[in-house]
């Protein structure tokens, strides 16, 4: 995925993430942060995921959970509804985030795989 100009090259300060502000303002962190995946390099530019916060983290953990099946090619909400229909008791928090707070409905790998 192409980054949007200069914005994609310099990492911005994230809100609500105390302590991380000091980390680095100019370069990407490569694998040092367990929670954030290492930056992808596509088309020889750094590809940094914007708008990454705890909510997205919860949704990504939902994506990666094998019990609910593969996540590629499905909307997160569709996958949640399928898990619900199958009686797998997916976390209600995920449904809230997707419906009420309009968080990112596409899975982690959308467009990348």
């Amino acid at each position: 995925m192409a980054s949007t100009g200069v914005k994609g090259f310099f990492r911005e300060k994230k809100k609500g993430k105390p302590g991380a502000a000091k980390k680095s303002n100019k370069s990407a962190s490569f694998g040092s942060d367990v929670v954030q995946p290492p930056a992808l390099i596509s088309h020889a530019t750094l590809d940094l995921q914007e708008e990454y916060d705890e909510k997205e983290e919860v949704l990504r953990q939902f994506d990666m959970n094998m019990a609910y099946g593969p996540c590629i090619g499905m909307n997160r909400l569709d996958r949640w509804e399928r898990a619900n229909k199958f009686g797998l008791n997916p976390p209600a928090q995920v449904e809230n985030l997707l419906r009420m707070e309009k968080a990112n409905g596409l899975c982690l790998w959308d467009g990348r795989a």
Binding site: M66, G69, P70, I72, G73, M74, D78, R82, F86, G87
Partner: protein, 440 residues
């Protein structure tokens, strides 16, 4: 439809019909870029839940675990999807690695090999299966089974026992309703083909609508309550379908078989309810479940409310007798990738595996469903049929819970001139053959 006779008008019998095809329709599905992993997950979940409920009666003392949770030497039960690794299975990559020749690389035949082996797979991983019990020639990719055994030193799973889903629950059909009512099955009409004899089809239509024979014959024809046409009703010459632009003369060749079929269908529909299913050669979509042939193709017949265009696979109830069947693609695919003494055995296996088309989507085209698998058989049918087979064959199988199913193989009409008549009262079947060879 009534026919005059000396004793007054002969009335055709009727039966109450209910279509159960809703699960095979894909009008409401949207393609969002999903892959086939989704339908495999839906199938695994559906069947694993059902198999887990059967485990306590099968092997109550054994624990169940996932493939990744296997420990060497520990006896347990694992449930997963079977994958058969076949040496001779054609791969699309062969087109690039091997030399191109005029004839297609894949010859439709059986791809079995003595080196084939089975693998069991679930979300956590896969494990190669060993054991004398497991004959790879019987099984195909896509079936979900439960296996009892243990992991060997080599990392394989030694199978000691196998549990299939078995026949699903069946609702008892009404017993002894008294009168004989017949359902006629026909398939492979291949209208428009050079080898099909149009006289045979016309004879067939005339016979079932009561235009042939004396009073006794007409009386028998009056007992026919439903006609089911199980696929391959037209045959359009291969030369017309190779992607080249057609001249106007050739364009009319494309539509002539359908027009001819419509004329004959309207003769049938004028008298008897008729269900037409799409087949491999019909102008319908390729992937299963095939959607109903469009009404525009049948301007004459679609005007009748007795005309029904149905999906493939097709499921319906007639006087509370449940029917389920396909136009043959699922059984033909099984015949390519596994072995059996006769087609009825394939039919029986699909019922015992509780899945109409286990090889879909591996070797059989299939729509990528995400949250369901419509080929999973939920209720056991009373009559299970398959069209476009080489010859007429039928048998009755019994399930462990008292289920009784009549299996029917419908032969290709264009080659054999044979249709099948099934009596709703006792589910007995016989063949109805038309010939036009005149000696001398």
């Amino acid at each position: 439809m009534e026919v005059d006779s000396e004793n007054g008008l002969l009335q055709r019998k009727q039966a109450t019909y209910q279509s159960l095809d809703e699960t095979f329709l894909i009008a409401k599905e949207t393609y969002k870029g999903q892959q086939y992993s989704q339908i495999y997950f839906a199938r695994l979940h559906l069947m694993r839940t059902m198999l887990y409920s059967l485990l306590p009666t099968w092997k109550p003392h054994l624990p169940s675990c996932t493939v990744l949770g296997l420990e060497q030497g520990k006896e347990c039960v694992i449930v997963g999807t079977l994958y058969k690794h076949m040496k001779l299975k054609p791969s699309v990559l062969d087109e690039y690695s091997k030399e191109r020749s005029a004839s297609p690389l894949v010859q439709p035949c059986n791809f079995l090999h003595s080196d084939d082996y089975l693998v069991l797979e679930d979300e956590s991983g896969r494990v190669k299966l060993r054991g004398a019990l497991l004959l790879p020639s019987i099984y195909v990719t896509g079936i979900v089974v439960a296996l009892h055994g243990k992991e060997t030193g080599a990392g394989d799973f030694e199978v000691e026992d196998l549990l299939e889903a078995g026949l699903p629950h069946q609702i008892d059909r009404p017993l002894n309703s008294g009168e004989d009512k017949f359902v006629v099955f026909v398939s492979g009409l291949s209208v428009g083909s050079t080898s099909a004899n149009p006289l045979h089809f016309q004879l067939f239509v005339d016979h079932i609508t009561g235009h042939l024979g004396d009073e006794k014959e007409q009386g028998m024809a009056a007992q026919i309550v439903q006609v089911v046409i199980a696929g391959n009703s037209v045959e359009i010459g291969r030369g017309l379908l190779n992607g080249q632009n057609l001249g106007s003369k050739d364009q009319s060749k494309l539509s002539e078989p359908i027009k001819e079929l419509d004329i004959l269908m309207s003769q049938i529909a004028a008298g008897i309810p008729v269900d037409i299913m799409p087949g491999e050669a019909d102008p319908a979509n390729f992937a299963l479940p095939q959607q109903p042939l469009h009404r525009c193709l049948f301007p004459g017949s679609a005007a009748f409310n007795t005309f029904r265009s149905c999906t493939n696979p097709h499921s319906f109830e007639l006087d509370d007798v449940r029917f389920l069947g396909t136009s043959g693609q699922n059984i033909d695919d099984l015949a390519k990738y596994s072995d059996a003494t006769c087609k009825l055995e394939f039919l029986e296996r699909t019922l015992r595996w509780r899945h109409i088309a286990p090889t879909a989507p591996n070797t059989l085209g299939c729509y990528p469903f995400t949250d369901r698998d419509p080929f999973f058989i939920e209720m056991c049918p009373h009559v299970y049929f398959v069209g476009n087979q080489e010859k007429f064959d039928t048998s009755v199988i019994k399930g462990s819970d008292g289920q009784v199913v009549r299996l029917v193989c419908i032969p290709k009409f264009a080659e054999t001139g044979t249709a099948v008549m099934l009596n709703l009262r006792n589910l007995e079947c016989h063949a109805l053959t038309f010939g036009s060879q005149f000696d001398s």
